[in-house]
Amino acid sequence: MPDNPFRRTKPEPVPPVAASAREKTLPLRINGKAFFHNGDPEMPLLWYLRDVLRLTGTKYGCGIGACGACTVLVDGKAEHACMLPVKSLAQREVTTIEDLAGKDALHPLQESWIAEDAIGCGYCQPGMIMAAAALLKRKPHPDDADIDAIPNLCRCGTYPRIRAAIARAASAPVEGKK
């Protein structure tokens, strides 16, 4: 399918606050860009991404680190954005689903996700893909146990297709049943 031209474009992320702002600002690096936060330093990254930057690909599911819908990469590792106060992110590089493969490009996982038609309602999928991306970074050929250990929840029960998509992206043959 070609890109859907009817998608309403999201507002561009807010421009960085001038460093001269009176308040103490918190420097953040998200998707390769610099941002300066001068709100509550306790605000979890999840709400900063969603409500302030309007990067809504990172989803809310539980707010307590129990579902994985908000998974982002922090310095290449999977983290729950709902559990990270922005003040903990100084000097760290955050990557969200919107920039996993750079603008408009598809990560091999995103390609394999499409090929396996792995989405149900799709809500958990950005988090799943980020969790899988961190896994492949750590272990390019994960085995079943590695995939089993992905803690993200999918209410739509797409687990078998997610498993297939990860296996496809890793170009590793799916192992036999447990």
């Binding site: 031209p5 509550d40 302030v52 809504t56 539980c62 307590i64 579902c67 803690p151 447990k178």
Partner: protein, 743 residues
């Protein structure tokens, strides 16, 4: 173009950004072309189909996509008859289409409910929309070539003449737009000619979803939107007692609070679900911090203040002890007499089912702007027509000025049937005078839901001296689903909990179903599986128990009950149910029971023209249940999109597995005890089978909705497999905690 505007409305033909031309399927008066909209006021077919000058076909999807595949499936029906090139079709989500016609209010695009692709009616309606479009393109080509339209054919976006000349749809669109639709519906294709229907098609939204660009309701903003979160009364039917919001209002970013009165006691849950205090803030985080600072006390409704799951179970036991006041759902023959017959064996078992929550991936949320003369709502809703009526009632804004955008929704499972969150958002936004984005947190969602009812089933079977089933009694004490539910108003008390026609009704001469209503203050509603899952778990587990007690094979026992293939009643063909049962048994290799501590279990169910059977192979390893194989055999009539059918059957299976193994909502001191996923565990990757092998029978019969049926047969098949692996019969759900207790 000359058009008689009194009789037809011409749709926007403005060129799109890319210079696209809209084929003008104008609306015509309904009596002009009754076939275009039997149910609905003037249909604007143009809203379903638009053809760009480059030949790309844009098809409107009318149903709200919650993961069930309507956004892909319904456009396939149109594309089929249009003979479009599916790979070049673009799908565009339609908003809710309210239309004010002479004959009264109508739905411009037809049924926009979540289940929009299930019935044969949708098939006919949408295929006709495509067929009319194709007919107009063919007429346009015939005029251009000066040929008889009957000699032309179409394929993949082209009209083709007998001599091989071709014209692309894109080149014909402008002329086709000037023609009148045919007076009679053009004939539809025979199934043998299908090129798109029945072929696997991937989700049209996949790319946007995996890039994180899909905007769900929870992701939408409308200008200067304030975020609202609500502290809701934890007691069903309770009210606000005292409120001190001083500290909450001092939180940076918090604007104000708004009190929402709860529904009137005993009135239907047609608006908000509970009394609450809304906190409005610049962002979700500030709103949440503000909510934490509210000092509130609530007053429980005295009728329900003491409700508890343990108390309900006790009451259920008492009710089942005396049938004098029971509602008779079905009574064939004389069950009581079979008990007294000589040499009768009587078997009996009780199964306990807890309340269940929907826990949709995207919790309820709604973004809304309310002004005096206009409402804009962005929300994943299951019933946009109901939402439109509700918004009209709450705001006074005329329905034609209520715009409802239908973003992709993060799951439904029946939760979005209710528009309570829409009502909350509307009331808050109306009071606040600014656009509001209402956010439900997971804690809100689990503690304020329309729960799948709680119930205790008692099944009793009588067997004659040859161990043949002579009588069957199914008695249930449960919290009625139609309590304060206007959607089920006027329906019998057992509606949605007992189906008088469910298997094995009609297959035994002496058969009774009785229902006892269990009063409780917790709101109840529809959950995936519905009446089928509620009932079939008990029925299909009990059949397994009978088979075991009488040394019969569970498959043979079911086959004997089904008997010769026949139409037992409309929508229930015993042969089709036997067919899927046979497939499931064959695929799991039923004849060869594993000897390594693994167990096989099987079950089946049918309803509404859909048939499903499941077979599982499981073992218990330590504290874990390992599902080695999962087979789902399904016959849901003609298959629209086999890839989606596989996905949906697998999903319904795993959602049922999740509910069966782990999920329960419990009540204590009149309050729901669960708060978040740690208390309401969902199935995880490592607990799910590596695949669900779906085997579908394309019987060519009318398409039927199968989600509930699949969910219904999955759960008991799993429980039966657990019994086979462990010899422990679990009669109380959720299964895992009970199994570990019994083992």
């Amino acid at each position: 173009m000359s058009l008689d505007r009194s009789r037809r409305r011409f749709l926007v033909t403005s060129a799109g950004a890319a210079g696209a031309l809209l084929v003008g399927w104008r609306a015509q008066a309904q009596d002009d072309l009754p076939y275009l909209g039997a149910r609905f006021a003037p249909q604007q077919l143009s809203d379903f189909v638009r053809i760009e000058t480059d030949g790309a076909v844009v098809i409107g999807a009318r149903g709200c996509e919650v993961g069930q595949g309507v956004k892909t499936g319904l456009p396939m029906l149109i594309a089929e008859e249009l003979d479009a090139d599916w790979s070049r079709v673009r799908v565009e989500q339609l908003p809710y289409g309210y239309i004010e016609a002479d004959s009264g209010p109508g739905d411009r695009y037809g049924d926009q409910g979540v289940g929009g692709d299930a019935g044969p009616a949708a098939w006919t309606q949408l295929r006709q929309a495509g067929a009319v479009a194709r007919w107009l393109l063919v007429q346009a080509a015939a005029q251009q070539w000066n040929l008889d339209a009957a000699t032309l054919r179409t394929e993949s976006g082209f009209v083709i003449a007998a001599d091989g000349r071709k014209l692309a749809y894109g080149d014909l669109a402008a002329n086709a737009a000037t023609l009148d639709a045919p007076a009679n519906p053009p004939p539809l294709k025979d199934a043998s000619q299908f090129r798109i229907i029945g072929k696997p098609a991937r989700s049209v939204d996949a790319r946007e979803v995996v890039l994180g660009r899909t905007e769900y309701g929870i992701d939408s903003y409308l200008g200067n939107t304030l975020v609202a979160v609500i502290a809701r009364c934890p007691y069903p039917g309770g009210t606000l007692d005292t409120l001190d919001d001083t500290q909450a209002r001092q939180v940076t970013g918090v604007h104000r609070t708004i009190i929402l009165p709860g529904p009137k006691s005993d009135a239907p849950f047609d608006g908000v679900l509970a009394a609450g205090v809304a906190v409005l803030a610049d962002d979700t985080w500030s709103a949440l911090r503000g909510r934490d600072k509210l000092k509130i006390t609530w007053k429980p409704d005295p009728s329900w203040a003491k409700d508890s799951s343990a108390g309900l179970e006790e009451k259920a036991g008492a009710l089942l002890g005396d049938d004098a006041n029971a509602t008779v759902v079905r009574n064939d023959g004389d069950f009581a007499r079979t008990k007294k017959a000589p040499h009768t064996t009587t078997l009996s078992a009780r199964y306990r089912l807890p309340f269940l929550a929907h826990a949709t991936a995207e919790p309820p949320s709604a973004t809304i702007a309310v002004t005096k003369d206009k409402v804009v709502l962005i929300a994943g809703v299951h019933d946009p027509d109901g939402a439109s009526q509700l918004l009209h009632a709450l705001t006074g804004v005329p329905r034609e000025a209520i715009e409802i955008r239908l973003p992709r929704a993060g799951g439904d499972l029946g939760r979005r049937v209710h528009n309570d969150f829409v009502a909350e958002a509307a009331l808050v936004a109306k009071e606040a005078g600014v656009p509001v984005k209402l956010a439900w947190l997971r804690e809100d969602d689990l503690s304020h839901d329309f729960y799948r009812p709680f119930g205790v089933h008692e099944l009793t079977a009588t067997l004659d001296r040859k161990q043949h089933l002579a009588g069957w009694s199914h008695r249930v004490a449960a919290t009625p689903r139609n309590w304060r539910n206007s959607q089920l108003a006027g329906k019998p008390i057992f509606a949605g909990l007992l189906d008088a026609d469910a298997f094995p009704a009609g297959l035994l001469p002496n058969f009774q179903q009785l229902f006892h209503a269990l009063p409780c203050g917790l709101p109840r509603g529809e959950l995936l599986g519905g009446v089928h899952a509620f009932q079939a778990f008990a029925t299909q587990c009990f059949l397994d128990e009978i088979a075991h007690a009488t040394h019969q094979d569970p498959v043979v026992l079911r086959m004997d009950l089904l008997g010769a293939p026949r139409m037992l009643r409309p929508g229930f063909d015993t042969g089709r149910l036997a067919g899927v049962l046979r497939i499931a048994a064959g695929k799991i290799d039923w004849q060869h029971k594993p000897k390594n501590g693994h167990g096989l279990g099987i079950a089946c169910h049918a309803g509404g023209g859909a048939y499903a059977a499941h077979a599982f192979e499981v073992s218990v390893e330590g504290n874990d249940l390992v599902i080695h194989r999962a087979i789902c055999a399904i016959d849901a009539g003609r298959v629209l999109n086999p890839l989606n059918l596989q996905a949906q059957a697998s999903a319904a299976t795993l959602i049922a597995v999740s509910a069966t193994l782990h999920e329960a909502i419990t009540l204590k001191n009149g309050q729901v005890q669960q708060r978040n996923f740690p208390d309401y565990p969902l199935l995880r990757m490592g607990q799910a089978p590596h695949s669900v092998d779906v085997h579908s029978v394309d019987s060519g019969a009318d398409p039927a909705d199968f989600h509930d049926i699949v969910a219904a047969s999955a759960a008991p098949a799993l429980a039966n497999a657990v019994f086979a692996a462990t010899t422990v019969r679990v009669r109380r759900l959720p299964l895992m905690p009970e199994l570990l207790r019994l083992i």
